[in-house]
């Protein structure tokens, strides 16, 4: 029996769109800045908590307002990380792993700042912010298609995901800054020589990355049943897996990765459960296995600082 019903499809799309919104900016930021940013998880969580604080402290019920503020907050966070940490490090010629570790430090730091903020907010209002239920917004409509009910959160995430794809494809292909961004991604040295303002490009990349992810985080509060300060952390491994499917280089492949992982997590595990009795708690396990399989079968050569060729066991085994 195929476990394919309306809800499965809706859920699959939900996850796909969220992974798209979380992972495409990650790939974008990596390929432009060469920083594998663990603090990406914080952009998600901060976006979500902007919405949570607005709702819990001020009673805000507008998703649009939450998204706007989340864009600002997460975008600022991203740019601040760049200006105060990543830029000084890369200016000094620190290695890629070192910057990666610095982002790990930022990740831990931001996380606890959020816990502290939740504590302060708790002291102010008496509301428990460490685990916050789904927020109902009054400015996103529900749509009924026949018997199919599309929730406000679904409308919001679809609009955001489609909006991001349209925006990015326009921005990267048509605008000067976007083209410069691609040039920096392709060859930073050459881009610098040819007079592209690399620094400006990178700053803009961070704004876009943090901003989009922040918006997605805010929308997440209208989808997920609970928001906690570890919301982003618990998801970041999947998001990275999605981005790795794109080799951290290709935005299109990352997009495909989002759908693949969403498919595995929503439909694949149900199939395995129905047919082979694999426990459904293997859901995340499956994601990581996918990652390992991809790395073994199609190593992303040259991506993320690896050897630019495949080490051969025998003469001329592969090229």
């Amino acid at each position: 029996m195929l476990p394919l019903d309306q809800n499965t499809i809706i859920n699959f799309l939900f996850y796909s769109f969220f992974y798209l919104l979380f992972a495409v900016p990650l790939t974008l930021s990596y390929r432009t800045t060469r920083v594998l940013n663990f603090a990406h998880a914080n952009f998600i969580t901060y976006g979500a908590y902007v919405a949570v604080f607005l709702n819990g402290l001020l009673g805000n019920q507008s998703l649009l307002l939450s998204c706007l503020l989340a864009f600002l907050v997460s975008g600022t966070l991203a740019v601040a990380s760049h200006i105060f940490v990543f830029k000084p490090l890369s200016d000094r010629g620190a290695s890629m792993s070192l910057i990666m570790i610095a982002s790990m430090g930022l990740w831990i730091m931001y996380n606890y700042v959020l816990y502290m903020l939740a504590d302060i907010a708790h002291a102010l209002s008496g509301v428990n912010f460490v685990s916050y239920g789904r927020i109902l917004y009054n400015d996103v409509p529900e749509i009924m298609i026949g018997s199919l009910r599309l929730s406000g959160g679904f409308i919001a995430v679809s609009v955001a995901a489609v909006g991001m794809v349209v925006f990015l494809s326009f921005f990267l292909n048509k605008t000067l800054l976007g083209k410069a961004m691609r040039a920096v991604a392709d060859n930073p040295v050459l881009a610098e020589i040819s007079g592209i303002p690399r620094n400006k490009v990178i700053t803009v990349t961070w704004v876009i990355t943090g901003g989009i992810v922040g918006i997605a985080g805010a929308i997440w509060t209208s989808f997920s049943g609970t928001v906690t300060p570890t919301t982003g952390d618990a998801m970041i491994l999947q998001v990275f897996t999605v981005a790795f499917i794109g080799g951290l280089v290709s935005l299109v492949k990352t997009g495909i990765g989002a759908f693949v992982i969403a498919l595995i997590e929503n439909v694949g595990i149900s199939f395995l459960n129905a047919w082979f009795g694999v426990p459904t708690s293997f859901r995340t396990f499956l994601t990581f296995v996918t990652l390992l399989v991809i790395l073994i079968a199609f190593p992303p050569l040259g991506a993320a600082g690896g050897l630019p060729f495949r080490y051969r066991r025998k003469r001329g085994e592969a090229r």
Binding site: P308, F309, Y311, R312, G316, A318, R319
Partner: protein, 261 residues
């Protein structure tokens, strides 16, 4: 029919990258104890050829042969470390030294198959100390000979560009290597230093080493090489003695074409 006098033979090598032909049917020969230049405009396939010879790429077609003494071996498709083990040393356009190590250490780590590189032996210094001392003596001699003694204990990240190139080149002398592949030794170096480097090449050549040199600065290169190959758009355009090549119309056109582009 191979000429035994050649140390390196590249026989009609073709290499494509997803439809783009980087090398097409290129054949070059490097004679034993020769200094051979390889020139061509940007994107003509020089570096690809180097990458094929040094083992980074496997050619789609063609063969690469290496004749060391009476030993003839096919080396295409070997990994870079295996190519090195056969006695071919390669340098890079931007010197790739090990930045956190000192000049002396950069030299010391070059020899292939040191005893102390084996983990079980590394734990027991007795097994490798003598070898290490002998290597150190050899390295110090080299440094002395090339006037680098004062830099022996300096991290290479603090050296000037010219010194880096020098260290990268003489690093190969720590090994029994016969053939040096130099990738743009004169790039980014001022004229005097470039000439010094090429003088060193001739000096070493006189001692029996063979060189294949990719160089963009033709005016410097031509004074020092015996024979020149010209690549253009992945194909061999011309070859011959330096003065012949310089006057070759096709070569001039290729370079002018680049200048106009």
């Amino acid at each position: 029919m191979r000429k035994v006098a050649n140390i390196l033979e590249v026989n009609s090598v073709t290499k494509t990258f997803g439809g783009i032909v980087a090398l097409q049917d290129v054949s070059i020969n490097v004679p034993e104890r020769g200094v051979v230049g390889l020139i061509g405009p940007n994107g003509s396939g020089k570096t690809t050829l180097f990458n094929v010879v040094s083992g980074f790429y496997v050619p789609d077609k063609g063969e690469v042969w290496y004749h060391n003494g009476g030993n003839s071996e096919r080396i295409d498709g070997l990994n870079p470390n295996e190519v090195f083990a056969k006695g071919i040393v390669r340098t890079f356009q931007i010197p790739r030294l090990f930045k956190s190590l000192t000049v002396l250490e950069n030299l010391l780590l070059t020899p292939y198959g040191q005893k102390g590189e084996h983990p079980l032996k590394a734990i027991n210094p007795e097994t490798w100390q003598e070898e290490e001392k002998a290597l150190a003596k050899k390295a110090m001699e080299l440094l002395k000979r090339f006037g680098l003694l004062e830099y022996a204990n300096v991290r290479v990240s603090e050296l000037s560009g010219a010194h880096m190139k020098l260290v990268e080149t003489i690093r190969g002398l720590m090994t029994p290597a016969r053939l040096f592949l130099l990738d743009e030794p004169a790039a980014g170096v001022e004229a005097t230093a470039a000439h010094n480097l090429f003088r060193l090449v001739r000096e070493l050549n006189a001692k029996g080493y063979t060189f294949l040199i990719v160089e963009h600065r033709i005016e410097v290169l031509m004074q020092y090489v015996d024979y020149v190959y010209v690549l253009h758009n992945g194909q061999l355009l011309a070859e011959g003695k330096p003065d012949e090549v310089v006057s070759d119309k096709r070569v001039i056109e290729a370079y002018i074409g680049e200048a106009n582009a």
